[in-house]
Amino acid sequence: MKFKTSIETFDLNLFYGDFQALKNISMKIPDKNITAIIGPSGCGKSTLLRCFNRMNDLVEGTRLEGRLVIYNDERLGNVLSPDIDLIALRKKVGMVFQRPNVFNLSIYDNLRFGLRIHRMLSKKDEILAEIQNSLEHVGLWDDLKDKLSKNARSLTLEQQQRLCIARVLILKPEIILLDEPCSALDPMATLKIEELLRILRNDYSLVIVTHNMQQAARVSDYTGFLYIGELVEFGETTQVFTNPKEKLTENYITGRFG
């Protein structure tokens, strides 16, 4: 596997109090590709994803060990170290969650929110240009350009999830983390979001956690299989789903356990 690396971890360990949730994870996430993390419930998929933008800090008693670097960025340094610039990190590494978490604000304000937090842009026409750009990226501009003042919660769930992705894109991240981004959506909306992810892949590195193995197979370029906190296998999705190297992966994806 030869690729440019976006995220690289070295012996990453994560503890919730005495419980070790991630064990010696050393992996490389490829740049401008979709990487899926699969595994049974409680194996550490979301925990691993949340290490990439340090969201686990919100869980009391979390302790991190090891190294995690993003685009080998020395200025940013080890993402796992306590004194990292979290604002800068989370601007670089955006996140989309299970349920679309739009704010109870207008579509316009939802998108402007991040810009304001990060003190990006202040001129109205520049802001609008960026809003248009991000909505075009997620395929919403034509539908919403005349409804920007409408409350975002009036949108369909699929549109809300697209808006959440646009809200990430407007901050010009390099990496987008997606934690079960389609689990609240119906099958048709799911397929549409998957199509969007394939388009975004041209410009961003995406990491998706999913319990839906068919989704991982359909949408990703690379797949990592986690089991009880350990990375059992990482490889090209085609290889993992047709001829996995590890028996444990084989047993999991063929439904022999899990």
Binding site: T242, N243, E250, I253, R256
Partner: protein, 221 residues
Amino acid sequence: MARERFRKHINKLENEMMDLGCTVSAAVGRAISALKDRDVDAAKKIVDDDMIINRKRWETEENCINLIALQQPVASDLREIIAIMNIITDLERIGDYAEGVAKIVIMLGKEPLVKPLADIPQMADKGLDMLNRSLKAFIERDSDLAAKICDEDDEVDKLYEKTYHELLSCMIGKPDTITNATYLIWASHNFERIADRVTNICERTVFLVTGSMQKINVSKY
């Protein structure tokens, strides 16, 4: 274990494939006997029975397609279904070769042969033995045995070459044997092709076990 129902379906596919394999193997055996005994009635029965082989193949192929569409198999499950889909095609074709030999038996009728059959039954028996063992290799997931069987195709090729040259000499020496000798060349060619198809079956077993798709033995003919 999760997916019990799916496992049962896969086992059923494997049983169907083996059932087809047994029917085809019997057809080849009957074709060899019919040729040796010059039994036109038995040959006609083989031709009629080819319909059964074709029907079994279509049924199993349909079951494979349904399982892929409904159960989204992956990894070794997917490889097994794909292997079965390919093997049943090869088996059905082997059935056609048996039917081809049977038709030659009918065409030969009771005409005296230009020369004793000599190497043809030996070649046919070798092919039949390879076929039976190829099915065993699949069931036992024995990729070493499968690879070994592929190599044995060379023996069949040699026997075919010998038969071919002998029959050509007959034709050159006695032009009135041309029709009869041509029929025997066709029959031996059918048996030679059976062994080639067996190598395809073996390659699918290797694919199932290792995940690697490769041509193990390229037949001379």
